[in-house]
């Protein structure tokens, strides 16, 4: 399993989750966990996904999601889980 953290931050709009999830489904990325909040009209979503089953490399997923983010006006980051594990778990 290759746990990857996907974060989406930006101004709230209709269909942000749909766009991201459709892309992930089309590329065989399994979603393990989702949490989402809206603070002051700003959309903030974090997803934990497994990219090991994907037909694309993590690098490609990162690049394509970034482009989707630009189209709908939000910032999408795809990061290896390792940095958060290292920083917040002993």
């Amino acid at each position: 399993m290759q746990k990857t953290i996907i974060t989406v931050v930006g101004k709230d709009a209709v269909g942000i989750i749909a766009k991201v999830c459709t892309y992930l489904a089309n590329n065989q990325v399994n979603i393990l966990d989702i949490s989402q909040t809206i603070v002051g009209g700003y959309f903030n979503m974090m997803m934990i996904a497994d990219t090991s089953t994907s037909n694309k490399t993590t690098e490609e997923v990162r690049h394509e999601l970034h482009q989707i983010g630009q189209e709908i006006g939000v910032d999408i980051h795809v990061q290896h889980e390792g940095i958060f594990e290292m920083m917040h778990r002993i």
């Binding site: 974090m46 290896h80 594990e85 920083m87």
Partner: protein, 371 residues
């Protein structure tokens, strides 16, 4: 499972508080390149550096993109050239040849800087050491990425005053030789005492003779992150202050440890150390002086500066030591006036100056013998 709070905290550090990995430095021993023939020496150096460092920049970019953490510099440090070139170089010009070779290697593998155009003369100078030192102004004027350093003293041996005297002239000459480019040569030259063998930061990095054939050393930095954390505990007591610095240093250092381990694995080069240093950049919000102010100083230079700095260093080390399996390098705080916005402000405010201020005898109730 990682929570969104933790993810947001990490990403805020990266995006808003300038958390970054300042450098991945690949240390390469050039001792096995030594030859009494200058041509052959330069050829050996080139072959070794290109072989060892060809993937360094690529690996750095790959790690940076995978974890979403900026890795600002990829660098190389080599064995002090005074040792490597001693047998082949009969004049300062010969040493400059080596500098040019190093510069070409650095450009070919795409690293930002290559350090190790160095001499270790804390006790005495060999002939080769002196030739290298005399070649520094020319070497730094004709190269772009080579960094030079001279260790002129150590706690054990004291200070080599002959070397200090010589370097006074060398520093001025280096400035003069690069005066059309803001005297940039001097930005690539460090003169220091107690130089560590595994320092990843420039311009003072070199690959000490006590090191192995190749090693990965990483320097992390995040003065903005420490400052931001301290903002949240304004008015609290010293215990809270120290705890906050420790916790933050731990988190910053963990990122360095992760990057170092990953770079070591991908390059097949042993992991050396993480350098726990707070190093500023001129960017606003990336200042060590601002941390000192957040601790409670009016400006760096004001009464209490040394105490605040000692407290900061102590707590950074205490927090960082547990976060990394090997800690080394300089592991302190770099606060160059030219690279820290808070320090620049302190100079402008008159709180910091290079000249010692004298009190006039009339206004001074006590006559200090050293004033």
């Amino acid at each position: 499972m990682i929570t969104s709070l933790e993810v947001n905290e990490t990403n805020a550090m990266i995006e808003h508080e300038n958390l970054d990995v300042r450098t991945i430095t690949l240390g390469i021993s050039l001792l096995d390149c030594i030859s009494s023939d200058l041509e052959e020496l330069c050829r050996n150096i080139r072959v070794k550096i290109l072989a060892r460092a060809k993937d360094l920049v690529k690996v750095g970019q790959r790690i940076s993109s995978a974890y979403g953490i900026p890795i600002v510099n990829k660098r190389i440090s080599v064995t002090p050239i005074a040792l490597v070139g001693g047998a082949a170089c009969k004049s300062p010009e010969d040493f400059v040849r080596i500098a040019k070779t190093l510069d070409r290697c650095a450009k070919d593998v795409g690293v930002n800087f290559l350090g190790g155009y160095s001499a270790l003369v804390s006790k005495h100078m060999t002939n080769a050491d002196e030739l290298l030192i005399r070649s520094i102004p020319e070497a730094l004027a004709v190269t772009d990425r080579v960094c030079s350093s001279v260790n002129v003293g150590s706690t054990r041996t004291g200070i080599n005053m002959d070397a200090v005297r010589l370097l006074g002239h060398i520093v001025k000459e280096t400035a003069e030789r690069t005066k059309e480019r803001d005297s940039l040569g001097c930005a690539k030259l460090v003169v220091f005492c107690n130089a560590p063998d595994d320092n990843p930061f420039m311009a003072g990095a070199f690959h000490g003779v006590t090191e192995g054939d190749a090693v990965i050393n990483v320097g992390v930095s995040g003065p903005g992150v420490v400052k931001h954390a301290l903002e949240s505990c304004r008015g609290a007591d010293f215990e809270m202050l120290c705890e906050t610095i420790k916790k933050t240093a731990f988190k910053i250092t963990r990122v360095g440890q992760l990057v170092a381990k990953e770079a070591s694995r991908l390059l097949g080069v042993p992991f050396g150390i993480v350098d726990l240093s707070l190093a500023p950049t001129p960017a606003v919000g990336d200042s060590v002086a601002d941390i000192l102010k957040e601790i409670g100083l009016e400006h760096p230079g004001a009464p209490g500066t040394t105490a605040a700095l000692a407290l900061l260093n102590d707590q950074v080390k205490k927090g960082g030591v547990m976060a990394s399996s090997y800690v080394g390098g300089l592991s302190g705080a770099f606060i160059p006036v030219s690279e820290d916005q808070g320090m620049i402000e302190a100079v402008e405010a008159g709180a910091l100056a290079t000249r010692r201020r004298r009190r006039s005898p009339a206004s001074s109730p006590t006559r200090w013998p050293w004033a």
